[in-house]
Homo-oligomer: 303 residues x 2
Amino acid sequence: MSLLVVGSVAFDDLATPFGCRENILGGSASYFSLSASHFRPVEIVAVVGQDFGPEHFKVFEGRPIGLDGLVQMPGQSFRWKGTYGQDLNEAQTLETHLNVFAGFRPVLPEGCRTASFLFLGNIDPTLQLDVVRQMAQRPQWIALDTMNFWIEGSHDALLDVLKTIDILLVNESEARSLSGERNLVKAYRKIRALGPRILVVKRGEHGVSLFTPEGYFMAPAFPLEEVQDPTGAGDTFAGGFLGYLASAQTFDLQSLKRAALAGTVMASFTVEAFGTARLQELTSESIQERMRLFSDMIHVSHH
Amino acid sequence: MSLLVVGSVAFDDLATPFGCRENILGGSASYFSLSASHFRPVEIVAVVGQDFGPEHFKVFEGRPIGLDGLVQMPGQSFRWKGTYGQDLNEAQTLETHLNVFAGFRPVLPEGCRTASFLFLGNIDPTLQLDVVRQMAQRPQWIALDTMNFWIEGSHDALLDVLKTIDILLVNESEARSLSGERNLVKAYRKIRALGPRILVVKRGEHGVSLFTPEGYFMAPAFPLEEVQDPTGAGDTFAGGFLGYLASAQTFDLQSLKRAALAGTVMASFTVEAFGTARLQELTSESIQERMRLFSDMIHVSHH
């Protein structure tokens, strides 16, 4: 089962209480694909500028990541500058330069239109819907990330694309503002009526909640002593979650739970270093080892 | 195995977004004992005033709750007035009247001095230590709750009592201010060096984290559609946690995990109604049923 991600490939300037980095690879499609590719091959559809050099392409090469849809355009790549305080749960955006992303209209290469798993990264909902419409056949699973900017500013377009998807991945405040409900059990019911059968609420250091018609699950965050940079944790989670599902090919509640554990473990690696550094060096042995550790950790035996 | 709680029995005036109540039974020893008594008999050591009438004693009577240590003194009972905003995780104290509690010096009746489980509710650490010293033999488990007021204002006395205990139950901000570490894995290491072998971090709607020398565990909160009043959730958790341990009589990591589930389930009942109302009407059938539901919810099968 093949995976397709449509999102951003970008350069980030980041400052956290543990250091800062300039000009490092970021963007939702970067984190998603590096994470998902540990489970299944993945295709990227995104746009970069002339400043995206061979050293950047190299990050994706040699992995099962297809770059046919990674278009290079005249101009600069999307650039984000953000900072985090002691509470790593919330980023403060200092600068956003859309650059080549401003005119981005994703065009899916022929080979991407039959993907079984589609992840719509956090971009304009009008573009997200356009991508759905370009698919040659309805993917088995469509997952979508969004943010308050679109929930408030492009509400109707967002509602249109939500009708077409299966899984919505958002944080608590986004789930609340989209549904108008503070209580997440109620928020899920409202969101389900909008289209998505499954709601994944990303809670940062508190873990993720999974609302499905078959039941509820919550995975804690993997406990870490050093969290250097939370950037990309959500997209890394999505990559691990969908990558695991695509590789498992079973989609019952137990599979969704294990997928949530896989996503959580992948995100736990991402936040240990700045940007995609930790994801780039990951081996399948270290992923398997942490998966085992994490499964044992949350396991409660009957007495 | 017998349980003993030393803490407050009080009257609360509460306002949440879902209503308000005046003059209702509250206090750490009330919530703890009503919760723990569903698992094991429990003795209360606390003080009340002349305003504590037969209708209030009746709440505890007919249950395995011993009241020999519940002293009535001239004056008014301890009274707390608090309010919660939409974020139910944090109470705002409007008024605190210590009343008879101002001169409270707990004296343990003979029959309480041999308890196997001692819970030191959130009171002056000097009194908590005094209670520990009154025990005829060292209890098998001593657990303690405290708050930033004592962490900041009675630091040395708190350090003295921490040396004598096994389990510290606090919220995230208390764990951080006591340890001087924002990261909870590091905070646990510092706190362990102060005495407690086990740290329970209460995270409200995000659940509880359990740090032990044998491993880490996190129990999510039980998902609820209606949370009316979070008052007493922490003491109810402590009651279920220690009550379960006392009844299980096994203390390995798996028992501690199941105890955390029991505490979580008990707390989920408390917050469904104001004050102790829901705890008072609880049957062991409804506790067992929610325990089963919750165990299934967090269970992840191997594939």
